[in-house]
């Protein structure tokens, strides 16, 4: 239940941040969203068993499911890589233009009207 509440709070915060104008806030939103999904994986493995799946002869009735842990480990590095790229993209490009600008045509064509897009 606690895990479900935490995941819910993280997703709420992530959705709020993803809809912000500032690029950095969007990236923080993605960090929170991947946190939420990682916790979702842990809860998918069953949260009753808390023992670590290490040692020579783990007892399956008390040790945690190792498969979701491997999933999360993989998902963390993938999200990490994309977050780094997103951060680089956030500081690339001219200083003048902002995320709020949705006109992605390259030249500000004078013959095109403002209302075209």
């Amino acid at each position: 239940m606690i895990l479900a509440l935490v995941i819910g709070a993280l997703v709420t915060a992530a959705v709020y941040l993803l809809l912000q104008k500032d690029r950095l806030r969007v990236i923080i939103g993605f960090v929170l969203l991947s946190h939420a999904v990682n916790l979702l994986f842990f809860s998918a493995g069953g949260i009753g068993r808390r023992g670590e799946p290490l040692g020579s002869d783990p007892d399956p009735s008390i040790t945690a499911d190792p498969l979701p842990q491997a999933f999360v480990l993989t998902a963390i590095v993938i999200a990490f890589a994309i977050t780094i790229y997103l951060l680089v993209l956030a500081v690339t490009g001219s200083a003048a233009e902002d995320e709020g600008v949705d006109d992605d045509d390259e030249q500000p064509a004078p013959q095109r009207k403002e209302t075209d897009r």
Partner: protein, 498 residues
Amino acid sequence: MMASLLPLFVVVPLIAAGIAAFARRSHRWSSVLLLATLAATTIAAGALVAATAQGQVVAAALGGWPGGIAIPFVADVFSALVMTVAGVLTLVSCWFALVGGTGRHPLFASLVLVLIAGVNGALLTADLFNLFVFIEVMLLPSYGLLVIAQKGKGTLRSVVGSRLYVTFNLFVSTVFLAGVALVYGTAGTVNLAELSDAAATSDLTAAAVAVCLFALAMKAAVVPVHGWLARAYPSTSPAVTAMFSALHTKVAIYAIYRIYAVVFEGDQRWLWIGVVLFSATMVVGVLGAVGETRIRSILAFHMVSQIGYILLGVALFTQLGLAAGIFYLLHHMIVKSSLFLSAAAVETRYGTDVLADLRNRVGREPLLTVVFGVAALSLAGLPPFSGFFAKLTLITGAVEAGQITAAIIALAVSLITLMSMLKIFNAVFAPTVTGSFRNEDHAVVEAPPTPLHLVAPAATLAAVTLGLGLGAEGLFDLATVAAAGLLDTRAYVEAVLP
């Protein structure tokens, strides 16, 4: 023997990518390595089509672990066909990129090789989490390719388009991942074969897999979430758009076909959702295309519309409907690449793809005109070309399944498709049709036509669509076998879990 070679479709491109990453300034050897590796995997995929043409399923349990524990790599004729066509189109796009200039970036070969490794992996895997990983393997080099530009000078437009593409795809991947977590929580496995028919036994698992399917539909740009594709694809370099048009959305479509067939067993109860969404995709996509003013933007919206057509095949879920959808998928990959390559040739030669700027500038371009005309008519579905056969079978399938409304929409959308293709054609390729040559444009009209080596890649694919239109039966037979494999998934499941 065949089965144990399946991982090579991923391993060989990855090793070649690692080697190609050492290329610094002299890029000739890395280009040769790129083309040779792509040709080898494509030929191997073609051999795989031959080996599975009678409906056989080849499966390998990676690492030699028992079925259900190992990650399974499975190939049937469906995955082999998509892999072959994707390989051919990547090869042709690389050919254009190398000729057109984009491919001269030192990292180009390496990125494309990782991309094709990810595509092959995503097509072969039968494990949901592994599918997620391979989709990421496919996406990460794509992010690099999006901003790669001629002479190492990126445009602001490609950075802005890239931001949209990366954020959207990261969001969709995270949703897909959440779906996989829910599947694991409810079913206890992420192996597709073990999930066979799971949707019928547990409503919770059905809902969890539906989350995955909706994420894949977002990746395929189905209508409520199609805006990203229309914005991101035209922003990159022309050669890269042509390459992506055959890979990303099509892998998502393949996964939707596969997952709905295996996990839902083609459950009739939910097909109406597909029929509604995909009909809307056909209409909204083509209407968006009519309103656009650049060649590549028009083509990107057409891609959305055609994705609706392809996915309609899975929403019919009959033998004929699935076969028509698979044929449509293969035909469309080829035609769309041809169109994007024609547009790329124009853009490389004339420096812009805005219709208003190109009007009356593209003078005597007989070859380019024919090539673009053939692909455009094939896209609209006119008789001598493969698009006619694809649309005919799809509409027959829709009528047979009782989806009269969807059939009528598919027919009506074809007319609008033809209309906006004619808009490009009239503005760019056939200035004499519009009648007037302005004086100030006259000097430009006399400029030499686009060199042959820029047109040749698009011409090759245009010839393929004509060939497929005249000899559609061969490919349609293979598509029928693939459809039979989706209708009855027992062979697939038994291959993974012996």
